[in-house]
């Protein structure tokens, strides 16, 4: 087969949803395999690896993102029902949530406001523009919620997705060292802080520390998604006005 045939074949395949969908799953499987091979090291994050593979491939073949996304949207669509499904782990923690309601609620509010405000202040101080700042604000919450918040407030959802994933990796990498420095050893406290600051990737890390830390991380992740979605529409315009 000569190169003209090959590029003709690529043009044909790239026009069907099959290719984008299959490439997404293949890239993820390869990334997952690498992640497992490296003993689930936080630096070898499977999402980051899969995205790197796909971006490289699309760039090399000069394929526009929209062409790829026409197929990949079938995977993307599942983020909606997956967000709804977060109600199930949240329900499982309901008993604990009631017992520790006050301390957890206060921490949640302070943590959610801190995450958005700190990112905004540093970004604005270093000269990021408004759409970038809005995309930054919800970066501590799970991707489907963060993207929806960014979209509703005039940010760039796909940029937010990248920032959310980076935040998750940073949180998973740094949490243990920070807690040691602060002399915080209670797994419930550790888990809640990781889930609040670093959503699902942080929660996965917390489950590696202990089941109790993991449970509190899952709770914090779900609750912070909700609180950030509710607070951001008021906090973001305020930050825009004062900064």
């Amino acid at each position: 087969m000569n190169s003209a045939d090959l590029s003709g074949l690529w043009v044909y395949l790239a026009a069907t949803p099959l290719l984008g969908l299959t490439l997404t799953l293949l890239a993820y499987l390869i990334a997952w395999h690498i992640h497992q091979r490296l003993a689930a090291h936080p630096l070898a994050n499977p999402v980051m690896l899969a995205v790197a593979l796909l971006v490289t491939l699309l760039w090399l073949t000069d394929t526009p993102y929209q062409t790829y996304f026409d197929g990949a949207q079938f995977v993307h669509f599942l983020l909606g029902p997956a967000t709804v499904a977060l109600a199930i782990p949240l329900y499982a923690q309901l008993q604990r949530l009631r017992q520790m309601a006050m301390p957890l609620g206060v921490t949640l509010l302070l943590g959610a406001v801190t995450a958005m405000t700190a990112a905004w202040i540093v970004g604005a101080w270093l000269g990021a523009d408004a759409p970038t700042l809005v995309s930054l604000a919800p970066k501590s919450v799970t991707t489907p919620i963060a993207m929806a918040v960014a979209e509703a407030l005039g940010g760039l959802p796909s940029l937010t997705a990248a920032l959310v994933i980076t935040t998750g990796i940073l949180g998973a990498m740094s949490a243990q060292g920070l807690f040691r420095l602060m002399r915080v050893s209670d797994p419930a406290v550790q888990g809640f802080a990781i889930g609040l600051a670093a959503h699902g990737i942080g929660t996965a890390r917390a489950f590696q520390l202990s089941p109790e830390a993991g449970a509190f991380a899952a709770l914090a992740m779900a609750a912070n998604g909700l609180v950030t979605a509710l607070l951001a529409p008021w906090l973001v315009p305020w930050l825009k006005a004062v900064m």
Binding site: M48, G80, T83, G123, T132, P144, A193
Partner: protein, 116 residues
């Protein structure tokens, strides 16, 4: 499986309809999550099929981020120009959020334990 998936989609759909009809700032799926949580509280918990379907979806949660994450290629120029504020904002805010959350919860839990 089919029932459970339908329930998830119905919750999402109702969430989308409510958030659009009332012009709420909350994303439709988030409202759907609250709705499902209320249903679970009323029903006294999820059935096995719903649990199974939710575990399936959430077990592969990171896969679902890949199409959107690949969209980072659309922002190559922005990342080139703004990588410093972006990276600094992420590193600083993640560390500060971790520290503030851990410190506040640590103090509140300890105070509550000392009280009785």
């Amino acid at each position: 499986m089919l029932n459970a998936l339908t329930l998830l989609l119905v919750c999402q759909l109702i969430g989308e309809v409510i958030t659009r009809a009332l012009v709420l700032p909350v994303p439709g799926p988030v409202l759907g999550m609250v709705l499902l949580l209320l249903i679970l509280i009323i029903r006294g918990g999820p059935g096995d099929t719903l649990k199974h379907t939710a575990n399936g979806l959430l077990g592969h949660l990171s896969l679902l981020f890949v199409p959107a994450g690949t969209g980072i290629m659309l922002h190559a120029e922005r990342l080139e120009n703004e990588w410093l504020p972006l990276l600094a904002a992420l590193v600083v805010s993640t560390l500060v959020t971790l520290a503030v959350s851990a410190a506040v919860l640590h103090l509140l839990v300890r105070r509550r334990q000392q009280k009785p």
